[in-house]
Symmetry: C2
Subunit: 297 residues, 2 copies
């Protein structure tokens, strides 16, 4: 399949995720208008929807009826979006643009941006709770546990905290590795793992998808660092060299571009090897992995 063909399929899948997200946003009362607008502004900002797509496709390898995974797919994108809103705040990365649009606090002010992030995290769990009440509660709770951990202090938030504390100070390669593992790979792995759990996967299948998620997440993050250095500002929709601007160290602060590219290939191969276990049912995830590793945005 060509990059263009998979891009077309992804566009369709992105629209499906948009529809799922709309389903789980409640109709606001007049008092809730502004906060609801701020939430929608960031939630429908043309995200790549990587995490919910990965979750649904992992689920689909074992179960073709995706009804039960939908609320969790919505939730993982809400969590990702809240983390971006808070990450962009002046007290954090202080970014004015995200995906080619002004960041949330630039439009709604810092206070509302903080609350919109809080609201999205809360709504993510509300959405999963409703999903758990409507479908298999025990599998749902197990998936929620995985997602909660992936998003928390032992996962994404832990990574954000070290990332923040490491700005403008000596950072070791080990610490950078911790940040990559926690800030990026953690939620990607959690999304995939939740997909397999919800579809009733066994412990061997769960282990394989975790290995896939970890390798994909690491490849994805190093590729991000490469694109931040060499990508075009236009294609990325955000300022390039933004990490350098913030005095942040990236993979390329420690390794040459060649070695970084080699690492992306290494982790991509690891990812593909883990997928092989799932046989033909992994066809789409294999295509997606290849696509993500060759992306220019």
């Amino acid at each position: 399949m060509s990059q263009q063909e998979i891009k077309t399929i992804l566009s369709k899948k992105i629209k499906e995720i948009d529809k799922i997200l709309e389903e789980y946003l409640e109709i606001p009362s007049s008092y809730e208008k502004v906060i609801h607008e701020a939430i929608s502004y960031s939630l429908f900002a043309e995200g790549k929807r990587i995490r919910p797509i990965l979750m649904i496709e992992a689920y689909r390898m074992l179960n073709s009826d995706i009804t039960g995974v939908k609320p969790f797919a919505a939730a993982i994108e809400m969590i990702h979006t809240y983390s971006l809103i808070h990450d962009d705040l002046p007290a954090m990365d202080n970014d004015d643009y995200r995906r080619g649009k002004l960041t949330n606090h630039k439009v709604y002010g810092e206070g509302i941006a903080i609350l919109a992030g809080d609201a999205l995290l809360n709504l993510a769990f509300e959405t999963m709770i409703q999903g758990a009440l409507e479908h298999n509660s025990i599998l749902a709770l197990q998936a929620m546990k995985v997602i909660g951990k992936a998003a928390g202090v032992k996962g994404m938030i832990g990574g954000q905290a070290i990332d923040l504390l490491s700005e403008k100070q000596e950072l070791t390669f080990d610490t950078l590795h911790y940040i990559h593992e926690h800030k990026t790979a953690s939620l990607i792995t959690g999304a995939l793992q939740a997909g397999i759990i919800l579809s009733g996967g066994n412990s061997e299948q769960i282990e394989r998808i975790k290995a896939f998620g970890y390798a994909l997440g690491m490849a994805f993050q190093i590729q991000d660092d490469i694109l931040d250095q060499i990508g075009s500002e236009e294609a990325l929709g955000k300022a390039i060299h933004s990490d350098q601007k913030n005095g942040k160290l990236t993979y390329l602060s420690f390794e040459s571009l060649e070695i970084a590219k080699e690492k992306v290939r290494y982790f991509s191969n690891q990812a593909l090897e883990s997928l092989a276990y799932f046989g033909d049912s992994a066809a789409f995830l294999i295509q997606l992995t290849n696509y993500l590793m060759n992306r220019s945005y």
Copy 2:
């Protein structure tokens, strides 16, 4: 029972809540040290622990073994604490002191304070999920749904947003009422309702506890407004007239002190009437209601 006697009992119950909270805080790795410290700083800042105490005591009216309610009691206090950390931020109320101590961002910086709040909200749900996996999952999920709604856009966050948007602009009495209902009464009612649900209460019992929670929450908030105007700075541990400082309107911007006190009595009586339904088992909650309405801090 005298104010002093109930105060002694409450001190004991507060210590119990502290112990429960400690149980649900995970041991941090070295990377998690700072964020864990920031979380603990605010979580163990001598809070009144009103919400978990109310939840446990509501639960105890129907069930004396409180094992199943503990993770939820911890969670409601985590949610309350995260809301205080974010509420104190410069972009929100901009408060330097809380309960006689520097606010979280004054000690750890704004970025870590934002993340510590996020972490507490996330941990609250993680804690409830674990509780749901260990005890009655369906009752637990129903309680989680109530708490999630009470904390979200249709509850506390909605109240915070309107509170923020109303600063320094014309505020109607209706809007103030909305803020009180959502910012304060919502989480108190959610805590009580979750307690009854977890103990297996029926729909009539749930309705009565909701009515109690609403009346108690409203009385509590108006009492807060009164104390902010007439209380002593020392006893409150925070700057009084802080609402005025922020240009915020309170109940006393619309009504005289006399009418405000009358309203506290009115809602307290409503609260006590709803409790009467539970007979003798409500003895402690009755005492607590009387105590809270006569508090000076």
